[in-house]
Symmetry: C2
Subunit: 130 residues, 2 copies
Amino acid sequence: MSGTNTHVPAVLAHELPNPVPRDELAACPVNDLFRRIGDKWSMLLVIMLGKRRYRYNELHRSIEGISQRMLTRTLRDLENDGLVRREVFPTVPPSVEYSLTPLGESLLEPLSALAEWAVRNSPVTAAPRP
Amino acid sequence: MSGTNTHVPAVLAHELPNPVPRDELAACPVNDLFRRIGDKWSMLLVIMLGKRRYRYNELHRSIEGISQRMLTRTLRDLENDGLVRREVFPTVPPSVEYSLTPLGESLLEPLSALAEWAVRNSPVTAAPRP
DNA sequence: CTGTATCCGCATAGATACTG
DNA sequence: CAGTATCTATGCGGATACAG
């Protein structure tokens, strides 16, 4: 137990330069991913869209507390990141449907490992911040 | 492909109430975890401490761009969350060593799944935000 | 119905100076 | 060596009003 951890996953165990330069930090895939979907609403949207497709107002009504601005902005970001697909149907009134791309669905799998960890350890980590 | 996603991981697939109330959202373990370690420095520290133990100034020197304030604050948060252990040795001058707790080390495993996903898909997700 | 535009409060994070 | 204290800047996120 003392000293080096022997079961660190390969991806995380690769040598880090010393000092860790800013570019290396910004380029860290995990850190980068977290900075993209680690905001207030992205996770919830990915999980919801992982269940089924939604229309815009359906999402707006379904998520208590989200503003139009934040819903639109978060969906646009997820779309730009290739995780969410936006389909416009030129009806009157117009309707827009959101769903996960294959990339977005593939994210659900590693996410579940993290989710299961979080659920298992939520009693431990649920302590309020001082 | 149309309609319901059939291979959503169990933890993520459980029924979401509609509308999703704020408390439910705040209590979402994954969202909660992301809000705790999804900040600018937490991930990097967990990964670094996953390799070996570090002293305070060692971390400060090793991570280019981090301020003392942020390093201390991030370490304290991780300690409060039970992920990092802080050991003080009353020498002169004093020395403090940081390492992962068993809980922190257990987090490295699900993290690696996410890391591998991020690495595999970094070419796709690396596009700059507009 | 599906958004955009604008304004504003608050939390996050950096810089700097100082301390046991 | 290992931090605190204080000040400030920036950006996220919410409220509201308006538009195609």
